[in-house]
Amino acid sequence: MSTTDKSNEAASKTPHRLALLPAAMFVVMMLAGLGVTVQSLRNVPESAWAGFTEPTKLLGGESTRQFTSNLNDHFLPSHFFAQVERAVTWTLVGDTGAQVGTGCSDWFFLTEELETFPHPQQSAQARADIVAAVAKNLKAQGIDLVVALVPDKTRIEQAHLCGLHRSPLFAQRLSQWQTALTQAGVNVLNLEPVLSALPGERYYRTDSHWNESGSDAAALAIAKHLKGASGVPSAEAAQMNRQTADRPGDLFRLSNLEGLPALLRPPVEKAQITTLAAAPAVPAAGADDLFGDAALPTVVVVGTSFSRTSNFVPFLSHYMGAEVANLAKDGGNFEGSALAYLGSPTFEQTPPKTIVWEVPERMLQKPLSKAEQQWMRDLKLRPAH
């Protein structure tokens, strides 16, 4: 006899009141669901229904798919339900979802840093080719390019991985890429030795980025690389205010733990937050400065959220003794902000003297995006694979 047969047999012997409990709950849930669905559909913006009633879309099933998508995207309790699920899986088995890995207590890591990809060497080489070609083009315009390599959190803070698997194949990926760039004549700074040598925590526990200690050290290393060690001021000179405050990191949000009651989630991280003095003003424009462009920053940073976190660019401005323009983008990936900036009128009209291209390690071996492939074609480079 199957489980279900037994289940039915047992149900038939159950007192009437209990046997109807599933049915009663089901009806309540369905009716509640209907009410929530109607309310959720009211919240769908009109633009999301564009083309819904077109006959070809209706007959081909596209309209119903549009309906499904709108309902899923605007279903009112979705976020709450996702949090309940996380509360359950976190409490029972310490799970943080597919995008976040849990290391030692309170240490979270971005799964993307641990992912292996097909054709990793070819992808990394293709990116090295892009950088080399861009550096060559910039050099021809009299602009220096410095590539700042940001090591993974899982590399620098690997003592806190506690069993979270990091492929041994990643051991050389940073130095190999550095070597490839150096051989191509690109000015590159690998921040791994600087961050490794730094005592204490260099990255936030619940965030994928470096903390202020890490970003400060990285900014100092870059400034020294650009200006030489002698002309760099001390860190203290720039500090206006330094305090410790709650700072739930991006991994906290990404794992859906943010917003849960304190009992059902790990503690919120406390981090140092510094307010810095403004960077020294650029010297006033001279009489021959027709368009006022002498007052524009001569150093531009392109890259990712690393450049937008933990006062990285303010620290860099301080050590450079001049304003630094931050054109990095959150979620910019390898190419996002560089491609946007180099193709912008701003770059064309007021080119800087130096561009610092911040590249996180985890981007190196990912398969090339369509934009990167197009960039390769534009630069007349051979396709990667």
Binding site: S2, T3, T4, D5, K6, S7, E9, A10, A11, K13, T14, P15, L18, A19, L20, L21, P22, A23, M25, F26, M29, M30, L31, G33, L34, V36, T37, L58, L59, G60, G61, T64, F67, T68, L71, N72, F75, S78, H79, F81, A82, V84, E85, V88, T89, L92, V93, G94, D95, G97, A98, G101, T102, L114, E115, T116, P118, H165, S167, L169
Partner: protein, 465 residues
């Protein structure tokens, strides 16, 4: 529309049952038919016409068979209707594969390929065809009464519970209920419970394991551990997906007063391949036996012919499952071969202890699932190479990363659910204690709905069949 979706749970189901209960008993087949067609049309409305055409064809042919007094004519009508049904299946399901294979051959010999735009497979067509064929044969064999009401027959064919992914409900099973059934709160309650359990199986176990399966089958050189983790995850995923779907279908049927046949009976506890096919997708295996194996002569024409019939039945059964690559045919041949070996072994009086035969059966089933799941022969070979240890032993980086705590726990729960029915705890009543047996399905269902609402629905594996 899929069962595990917000639009089904929170829109279709409450509205359908509101109309269904409000409809006078005599017209409930009408409501069922309209609801089922809407359910089907939600996917691609234009294919509803095909389902309606096949339904009217089977309905009309059966009436002609019933009214005819000439036995040869009855057979001719039945054969014509079956051929037309099969023709639609062949066109929609296998033409792409045949043309692609031909084109591979042609281009291999430097000949121009046949210009071809892929034909889209309407969901549920395979099940519609099997329902139609069994009905026609049963009317011809006079084992069922011909249904003269087009509405009732269409309601049987289109019933949303079984329309797109089974189970295969033979007409004679619900003939009486189609003609006369009452809405019972008790049956509704029992149906709800089955639905809740099936829904939880699909959402909480099958869908959770799905990413690991996709990952493992996508590896170029899976190690021994990688390949077996992927295969074991798929073995559980397929069962919980399909058995979950069947449970939902059976539950929905019960809610309306229909009693569908069971489709699974703890298949991974089978002690032989023959036993496995008595427990896995039972409505298909009995269909193949009654309408194909017996029609081919069964075991009535000697030993050799019996083996040929077994092989043919399983090969055709394999091919029925899919038309996007030849792996399904190979899978069917593997099953047929295993059944032949099993039969020969048993006929010679051999036997082995239960634990050994269970393990061996599961091993054969799992290796065959590898071929079944692979997207093509190359992928099957990658996995099988790994499963036979030819790519090294240690777990690879990708699988190590994918085995998150919740995946491991789900894997474990799935395993326990599969093994549980064979335990003494289950024999003593286990989770079927009256109070608990009415509470745990509610809790798991509520949790499964929350999980579903927090993510996009994953299509059922059996849609493609």
């Amino acid at each position: 529309m899929v069962f595990a979706s917000l639009e089904f749970l929170t829109l279709f189901l409450p509205l359908f049952f509101a109309f269904y209960v409000a409809t006078p008993q005599h017209y409930r087949n009408h409501t069922l038919l309209v609801g089922s067609w809407l359910f089907y049309a939600w996917w691609t409305p234009k294919f509803l016409l095909l389902i309606i055409t096949l339904t009217v064809l089977a309905w009309g042919a059966a009436i002609l068979i019933d009214k005819s007094h000439n036995e040869q004519r009855k057979t001719r009508i039945m054969a014509t209707a079956i051929v037309l049904n099969l023709a639609s299946l062949v066109w929609y399901k296998y033409t792409n594969m045949v043309v692609q294979s031909l084109n591979t051959l042609l281009t291999g010999h430097d000949l121009p390929p046949i210009p071809w735009v892929n034909v889209m497979l309407p969901i549920g067509l395979s099940f519609t065809v099997l329902h139609a064929i069994s009905y026609l044969v049963d009317v011809r064999r006079k084992t069922v009464e011909c249904q003269y009401s087009l509405i009732s027959f269409s309601a049987y064919m289109a019933m949303f519970g079984h329309l797109i992914a089974g189970p295969i409900v033979r007409y004679k099973v619900i003939d009486k209920e189609l003609r006369d059934r009452v809405f019972s709160v008790q049956e509704f309650g029992a149906g709800v419970k089955r639905f809740m359990i099936g829904f939880s199986m699909k959402v909480l176990i099958a869908d959770t394991l799905s990413p690991v399966v996709s990952l493992a089958f996508g590896l170029q050189n899976p190690s021994f551990v990688d390949a077996w983790v992927g295969c074991a995850a798929y073995t559980l995923q397929l069962f919980f997906d399909f058995a979950g779907y069947s449970a939902m279908a059976i539950g929905l049927g019960l809610m309306m007063g229909f009693k569908f046949q069971e489709n699974f009976n703890h298949p991974y506890l089978a002690v032989s391949i023959q036993d496995f096919w008595r427990r896995w997708h039972m409505t298909l295996s009995s269909w193949l036996r009654d309408y194909l194996y017996i029609s081919l002569g069964g075991n009535r024409f000697g030993v050799t012919r019996t083996y040929v019939n077994l092989m043919l039945t399983m090969a055709i059964g394999g091919l029925w499952h899919g038309g996007d690559n030849w792996n399904y045919l190979i899978w069917g041949i593997i099953q047929g071969s295993a059944l032949c070996v099993d039969r020969a072994y048993t006929l010679r009086g051999h036997s082995m202890p239960n634990y050994a035969s269970r393990t061996l059966t599961l091993l054969v089933v799992m290796l065959a699932w590898t071929v079944f799941r692979a997207s093509g022969w190359d992928q099957a070979m990658h996995m099988l190479t790994g499963q036979f240890g030819l790519n090294g032993f240690a777990m690879g980086d990708a699988i190590a990363l994918a085995l998150r705590p919740s995946i491991l726990v789900t894997f474990l729960i799935g395993l326990v659910c599969v093994v549980y029915p064979g335990t003494k705890f289950a024999e003593r009543g286990g989770l079927n204690a009256p109070a608990w047996s009415n509470i745990w399905p509610i809790l798991t269902f509520a949790y499964a709905v929350m999980v579903l609402a927090g993510q996009k629905a994953i299509p059922f594996l059996y849609f493609q069949f």
